[in-house]
């Protein structure tokens, strides 16, 4: 008995040491991956002061990325009207993936189907690997992921990674916007329009307190209401 007890203790200790070692290795690898970063990191700005709520972005995204009816990768949320006639106005804000640097959807995905593309920082989904457990949908604090009714995989905005971006074009929503309210570009390129706009304007990101480090910036329009 004494012997087997000792053997058991030894075994468990080895197991724990092994497990700790493996997880340490995993973290080290992860941070090394971060060190060997590429010089592209895509981000987007939605200038709410320029947005007129025409929803051209929604339509363009649906067409370009073949997003089925009933679900959407980007929505313009409208509140209002505020103010008195004839000076009524609405508030529009963009609801889409924030391309979090520390993305909860990626952290929870059991198969690695939800992933961050190392070269670009884009958060994307490998539809083949996805089993549809919906863990990522529950984990996303911005509630913008959905199950694509055609592929049965999780889906969301991927900055047109597989469509327009692959063809060297700007994302479809950016191209479609008539007032140039959307700016897409490389955060690491100081000469890019994106960085210029970010430097020149006060911007805001949603729910930063959760530690997700989102890469969708918004230039706020007056909100028209006071919410405490």
């Amino acid at each position: 008995m004494e012997n087997s007890k000792r053997r058991f203790l030894k075994g468990t200790c080895a197991l724990f040491a092994g497990a700790t070692g493996a997880s340490l290795l995993a973290t080290v690898n992860a941070s090394e991956g971060a060190k060997a970063e590429s010089d592209i990191k895509y981000a987007m700005i939605h200038d709410e002061t320029k947005c007129i709520g025409c929803r051209a972005c929604e339509v363009a995204c649906r067409e370009t990325n073949q997003v089925p009816e009933g679900v959407s990768r980007v929505r313009i949320e409208q509140t209002g009207p505020f103010g008195e006639y004839p000076n009524e106005y609405y508030h529009f804000s963009r609801v889409s993936c924030q391309h979090c640097e520390d993305a909860p959807c990626v952290n929870v995905c059991p198969t690695g189907a939800a992933f961050i593309e190392k070269e670009t920082g884009i958060v994307s989904v490998n539809a083949w690997k996805c089993v549809g457990c919906q863990y990522c949908i529950a984990a996303c604090p911005y509630k913008i992921r959905f199950i694509n009714p055609v592929t049965h995989a999780a889906d969301k905005c991927d900055f047109c990674r597989e469509t327009n971006l692959a063809q060297g074009k700007q994302p479809a929503c950016v191209e479609a916007c008539p007032t140039k309210a959307l700016v897409f570009g490389n955060l690491k390129d100081p000469t890019s329009e994106l960085v210029q706009v970010l430097r020149a304007n006060p911007t805001q990101r949603a729910k930063v307190a959760l530690g997700t480090r989102p890469k969708l910036f918004r230039i706020l329009a007056k909100s028209g209401e006071v919410i405490l």
């Binding site: 008995m1 087997s4 007890k5 053997r7 058991f8 075994g11 468990t12 197991l15 493996a22 997880s23 995993a26 909860p104 990626v106 952290n107 929870v108 995905c109 059991p110 198969t111 690695g112 189907a113 690997k129 996805c130 089993v131 549809g132 457990c133 919906q134 863990y135 949908i137 529950a138 984990a139 996303c140 604090p141 911005y142 509630k143 199950i147 049965h152 995989a153 729910k207 307190a209 959760l210 530690g211 997700t212």
Partner: protein, 313 residues
């Protein structure tokens, strides 16, 4: 907003049942090991309660996995979870724990029933005897790892939900402990219920032992539930909102106060204390108390899952 359908609801009741069944399995194995080592020693396989645990644990864990797979949007692709792993994902690590747990569970069950198995196989499949002898050499290791794995499995059911940062009520460090404690007590209850349904007697020493462990376990659960909600209220903001939304009023408020606190915790606590002090144990008392515990735990899983998703950060 209706209690069972609302915008921010992603995971429905099948997940709650999966969490419940995983907890039952872990708890049943945990108590089976305790019973064997502290009460029954040899010939444990003759006890109805051990037998019940050895049936409940595998059936529960496999049924749970079945429900999990059926609930995927691509059930036929479930093998990808077994092939691709993500060390950062609680679900991925949980599946790994579940698999290893099942291996040790079956080895331990094999050891419990070694005598009858050996007797039956002696003339028919002598090769099996070598296998059981090999297992017996590692009995202590198998038992120890089974205990650790069952505790890990019980806690995993909570970590699965506490890894969701968008829901302030679920992102709560007490949740894994709460689910572990309630999972253990559901395992104990299912062994008791199965035991008295088989050849166990309500006055057997196994019942005395489990009841003695259950009283502090229920008290711990009550303390954990209190800490869980106190933590939310004191955190303030959306966490406080989440706590009030869950407990305050309506359908889930009733489920919590009447179903979980009343029937699921106070009921069994009172019955256990009564049975311990009077040492009168009738079949109906034991079975009834066990049923109350099980209902309470099942309600708790659903309550946490649904109310947890009602309020977002």
């Amino acid at each position: 907003m209706s209690a069972l359908h609302f915008d921010t609801l992603v995971w429905h009741w099948p997940i709650a049942i999966y969490l419940f069944l995983a907890g039952v399995s872990a708890g049943a194995m945990f108590f089976a090991v305790l019973l064997k080592h502290f009460v029954l020693k040899q010939n444990a396989y003759q006890s109805g309660f051990i037998r019940a645990a050895c049936i409940v644990a595998p059936v529960a864990v496999m049924a749970g996995l079945g429900i999990l797979v059926a609930d995927l949007t691509k059930p036929l692709d479930f093998w990808k979870i077994l092939v691709f792993y993500n060390p950062k994902s609680v679900m991925s690590m949980g599946v790994l724990i579940l698999l290893i747990y099942q291996v040790f569970m079956f080895m331990w069950i094999g050891l419990i029933f070694r005598k009858p198995v050996d007797a039956w196989c002696e003339s028919r499949f002598p090769i099996v005897l070598k296998l059981t002898a090999l297992l017996a050499r590692f009995e202590a290791t198998i038992t120890g790892l089974l205990v650790i794995l069952s505790l890990a499995l019980g806690a995993y059911t909570g970590f699965l939900l506490s890894a969701l940062p968008g829901y302030p009520m679920l992102k709560n460090p007490v949740l894994p402990l709460l689910f572990l404690a309630s999972g253990l007590s559901s395992g104990a209850a299912s062994s008791l219920l199965g035991g008295v349904l088989m050849n166990g007697k309500p006055n057997d020493k196994e019942v005395h032992f489990i009841h003695k462990v259950e009283i502090p376990l229920i008290l711990v659960e009550i303390v954990l539930i209190f800490t869980f909600f106190m933590g939310l209220v004191l955190t303030g903001g959306q966490s406080k909102m989440a706590a009030f939304n869950a407990l305050g009023y309506g359908f889930w408020g009733w489920i919590f106060w009447v179903g979980i606190i009343g029937l699921g915790l106070s009921g069994p606590l009172a019955m256990n204390l009564f049975m311990t002090t009077t040492s009168k144990r009738k079949w109906a008392y034991v079975a009834g108390t066990a049923c109350l515990s099980l209902i309470g735990v099942l309600l708790l899983r659903n309550f946490i899952l649904y109310t947890g998703q009602m309020t977002i950060a």
